[in-house]
């Protein structure tokens, strides 16, 4: 465990150093992402101005909370584990070889090996929103942090699970991409706008609701049972995603493509 934390920390430092090799690209992407997110919030503000106090049971303040949590959770997931979205490519092109040749957990090594520049913008944007909307509410910040940590794990686990299908089905990049879009959409709108079937999905197979909407409810009205259940279910999902990947690894067929580490 200690060894893998050290490896993850070392990979984080290398990723950041690698990103900073292209300073202007890094800053453009990070600021660009924060700006893009702001436009969505502007539309939400207009919607609340037109429609009144609540939309599907959520106030404008609530929407700011789920947006902040989603943005920072997605950002943290992609700052630390951006390679989850790259797993299909690694499998299909045989690039997992490099990770299998090293004496450490393949999953830790793979997930931490890449960062996303724009994700730094997402991560920062959530904090800016929280600072504007809840600057003096300690409980909101507590549940925001819980949501960001759990959300980053779940975003990565869901993406990893979708891409792990490549071990079984061949190229699952489209499924991976769609899954990411689904979980983002499930996160940034009030969950009651969706029908029961979709809601069941967002709390089971793609359980991002546990990290975004549940913390909002716990902030409004704390329930230890709900908190424990959400935490337990989220961690169980992450463990199962890891097991699914490890099982799939046995079906890996490698390849001879030219490859380099970026």
């Amino acid at each position: 465990m200690k060894k893998h934390l050290k490896i993850a920390a070392c990979l984080f430092r290398l990723n950041l150093a690698s990103a900073l090799e292209y300073r202007s690209s890094f800053l453009t992407q990070a600021f660009g992402m924060a700006l893009s997110n702001s436009s969505f919030i502007f539309f939400w503000w207009i919607a609340f101005q037109q429609l009144g106090g609540y939309i599907a049971g959520y106030s404008f303040q609530d929407v700011l909370f789920i947006w902040a949590t989603t943005s920072s959770a997605f950002g943290l997931a992609n700052v630390l584990f951006a390679n989850a979205a790259n797993v299909t490519k690694l499998i299909v092109s045989g690039e997992l070889d490099a990770y299998l040749l090293q004496p450490c957990n393949v999953l830790v090594n793979v997930l931490c090996a890449r960062t996303s520049l724009s994700a730094y913008g997402d991560l920062a944007y959530g904090f800016i929103l929280m600072g504007l909307a809840y600057h003096d509410t300690a409980a909101a910040w507590l549940w925001f942090f819980v949501g960001v940590l759990l959300g980053s794990l779940l975003f990565s686990a869901v993406t990893l699970t979708a891409h792990t299908l490549s071990f079984y089905w061949g190229d699952a990049s489209m499924i991976g991409q769609l899954t990411t879009e689904f979980v983002i959409n499930f996160s940034i709108y009030p969950d009651k706008i969706y029908g029961p079937a979709v809601r069941a999905l967002m709390y089971s197979l793609l359980p991002i609701g546990l990290a975004i909407h549940v913390p909002l409810r716990l902030f409004r009205a704390f329930s230890p049972l709900t908190a424990l259940a959400a935490l337990g279910a989220s961690l169980l999902y992450c463990v199962l995603a890891g097991v699914f990947f490890s099982r799939g690894l046995r079906r890996y067929e490698s390849g001879n493509i030219m490859a380099t580490r970026l």
């Binding site: 050290k6 490896i7 290398l14 690039e95 299998l100 004496p103 890996y252 490698s254 030219m258 970026l262």
Partner: protein
């Protein structure tokens, strides 16, 4: 103790087949057809510790698949396998601590960062403490002459400099067994020679076992004492490099360019393979019949030699000769 032991090792893939054309693509969508491909077929091979073995064969012969099973990347579908007394499939992480790999096609260095940063990561992965890492990096820097470019981003290095860093990276954890898959591919002759000398020195001083695949006959001649040739997933020849040299590597190619058109004198053991206007010629010399120095002397006596190079025949030609000869036996 043996470094590598395999018995009837096999690997079979399931591959999808499809006839030509769009209609066949739709049919394959509904009813896909699969065939079994035997990439490695019953290879039994022992390699002693400290040995330097050349593992050669044409493209698609099964070399990479075999090496990947030895490294624990691929699971065998048949036979038994032990590397340094460990099962690669079951004990991949333990084995990885004791082996080093250089795959010419795949880099373990970070492209945008200096090699020294990749060494730091590798030290964390191989559980080497900071003081020991500094000592080993200093040793490898001196041995491989990395000092001038150790702190330069890898993307800015020449291919030769990058390969030197790759080999150094693979030795950082002082492996007992080194897998080298085309380590000199794309390098110029001077750098190739430097890499060979470094590998040979590592074997001499540390007793590192070397398992080498290469399409360059000079790598095999200069580094290895034993060669195993495979094709279609099976061993075709397992012999000493001395025998390989006398039987198959005895021919050299001389490319010569003259200032004015020349007529090449007929010499026993020398075949003029091609000639363009008398100013350029390629000679194939059977060194068992006529020493190469003798031919060079005769060529220089014709006068007006502008350029001359000596090459080994391509590995594909050598392998083809091996197949022909072994089939006769």
């Amino acid at each position: 103790m043996k470094a590598i032991e395999t018995k009837d090792l096999g690997k079979t893939y399931r591959a999808r087949v499809k006839a030509e054309g769009l209609a066949a693509s739709f049919r394959a969508l509904v009813r896909p057809q699969w065939i079994s491909v035997d990439a490695v077929r019953g290879i039994s091979l022992n390699v002693e510790q400290g040995e330097m073995l050349a593992f050669i064969g044409p493209n698609g012969a099964g070399k990479s698949t075999f090496i990947k099973m030895l490294c624990g990347i691929l699971y065998p579908t048949a036979g038994e396998l032990s590397v340094l007394g460990l099962s690669p499939a079951r004990e991949r992480r333990k084995l990885a601590m004791r082996i080093g790999t250089v795959f010419g096609q795949k880099s373990q260095l970070w492209l945008h960062l200096p090699a020294v940063d990749s060494f730091t990561l590798l030290a964390a992965i191989y559980e080497i403490d900071n003081a020991e890492c500094r000592r080993r990096v200093a040793e490898l820097t001196e041995l491989f002459g990395l000092g001038e470019f150790l702190h330069t981003p890898v993307r800015k290095l020449s291919l030769g400099q990058r390969i030197r860093c790759e080999v150094a990276a693979s030795l950082l954890h002082e492996p007992e067994l080194l897998f080298l898959d085309e380590p000199t591919i794309g390098l110029d002759v001077v750098v190739k020679q430097a890499i060979r000398e470094l590998i040979a020195r590592r074997n001499r001083e540390h007793g590192t076992t070397v398992f080498l695949t290469s399409h360059d006959p000079a790598d095999i001649e200069q580094l290895c004492r034993r060669a195993v040739v495979i094709d279609h997933g099976g061993i075709v020849l397992d012999a000493s490099v001395e025998r390989l040299k006398s039987d198959y590597l005895g021919k050299k190619l001389i490319d010569v360019r003259f200032g004015t058109p020349q007529r090449i004198p007929a010499l026993p053991g020398v075949t003029v393979s091609s000639e363009s206007g008398g100013q350029k010629a390629t000679l194939t010399v059977d060194t068992a019949v006529r020493p190469i120095g003798d031919v060079m002397e005769r060529l220089s006596m014709t006068g007006n030699v502008l350029d001359i190079t000596i090459n080994n025949p391509p590995m594909e030609d050598i392998i083809a000769a091996i197949f022909q000869k072994e089939a006769v036996r």
